[in-house]
């Protein structure tokens, strides 16, 4: 076993190592029957620990860039899809007829296409002007 017999020393209160007992107790050391025992023991432990050590290495090696890269794999296609949909909707909205202001006089002498919904304007906006919103409902 651990042959560090010179380790007992120091303070006066320190009981010295009992060498006769140490010699006797050495028979409890598995290495007395198999000199390679502790080498093998370490191997068994390391084999059992391999998975956990590998897991820890993976976690330790993860950087912010790795995390962002892993996110980007799902985020980028989703963002592209969302942008495409939003762009399409905006283009459609631009093509649609928008509300226009029509003077009362003009309204009396001209036709307004489609159906109209009258909206009251505030007093400050324009006197004698009525806003019509046209569009398909």
């Amino acid at each position: 076993m651990n042959k560090t017999f010179d380790r007992s020393s120091g303070s006066p209160a320190e009981l010295g190592r009992d060498m006769a007992l140490a010699e006797a107790l050495a028979s409890l050391d598995p290495a007395t029957e198999d000199p390679n025992y502790w080498f093998l023991f370490r191997g068994w432990v390391m084999t059992g620990a391999a998975g956990e050590l590998a897991r820890r290495r993976v976690i330790a090696e993860l950087t912010i860039a790795d995390v962002l890269a892993s996110w980007s794999r799902t985020l980028v296609p989703t963002a592209l899809l969302a942008a495409t949909i939003a762009g399409t909707m905006l283009l459609q909205a631009r093509d649609a007829p928008s509300a226009r202001h029509v003077g009362v006089e003009e309204l009396l002498v001209s036709e307004v296409s489609n159906e109209t919904v009258a909206t009251l304007l505030f007093d400050d906006d324009a006197t004698g002007v009525v806003m019509f919103v046209s569009g398909g409902f």
Binding site: M1, L15, D18, L21, A24, L28, R42, M46, L53, E61
Partner: protein, 204 residues
């Protein structure tokens, strides 16, 4: 992601047998197998000594010691003071050894008197090459568990009182006292046992 060893090899170059427990624990937390290997190498005998002081059987002590290292690795992040890794590890091995005995005693169909399970050498172990070991086991069986741990760590592993006190979380005076009584009890027990070789009778 495939684990690479590049990182590990780079940091492990700075590790050696003189590295502190704290340094090794911090490296092992990151999966450094060399650092963990050094910790195993440093404490495997002490862990086994504590395990056999609880279980009393080589096979059980071996299982408990291996299990303790794997449990310690799994919980390495819970070791709040890496520099006090040894004491933390000793607590784990004691608990694993006790759990192992409890599990096995539940499996046993025969009624075993309390305390008889530990330190009861199997008849097949009374072989020529193992006689000394058997006699020692018999003598050690008469000691309380804490005294077995202390006498094995001190006289077998060569740990100092201070180290034992720190790692078993006992006052240094208690360690000295336990060691004194353990030796005294061992000496008396060995004197009474038949067939004890002269080397054991010299134990003081």
């Amino acid at each position: 992601m495939v684990p690479s060893t590049r990182y590990c090899n780079t940091v492990s170059n700075k590790l050696s047998e003189t590295s502190t427990d704290g340094e090794l624990v911090l490296r092992a937390r990151k999966g450094d197998d060399i650092a963990f290997g050094l910790l195993v190498e440093r404490y495997q005998r002490a862990v086994y000594a504590v395990a056999i002081s609880v279980t009393g059987r080589h096979e059980d002590a071996e299982d408990a010691a291996q299990e303790a290292f794997l449990v310690a690795l799994g919980r390495l992040d819970e070791c709040r003071s890496p520099d006090r890794f040894a004491g933390w590890l000793m607590t784990i091995v004691r608990n694993r050894s006790k759990n192992l005995i409890r599990r096995e005693s539940l499996r046993e169909t025969d009624q075993v008197p309390p305390g008889a399970r530990s330190w009861a050498p199997m008849p097949d172990r009374i072989a020529e090459t193992r006689e000394l070991r058997y006699l020692l086991e018999q003598a050690l069986a008469g000691l309380p568990e804490v005294q077995r741990q202390i006498v094995l760590l001190h006289d077998l592993e060569g740990w100092k009182h201070r180290e034992i006190a720190e790692r078993l979380e006992l006052p240094a005076g208690t360690v000295r006292s336990h060691l004194h009584f353990a030796r005294k009890t061992l000496r008396l027990a060995l004197e009474e046992l038949p067939g004890v070789p002269e080397v054991l009778r010299k134990v003081q």
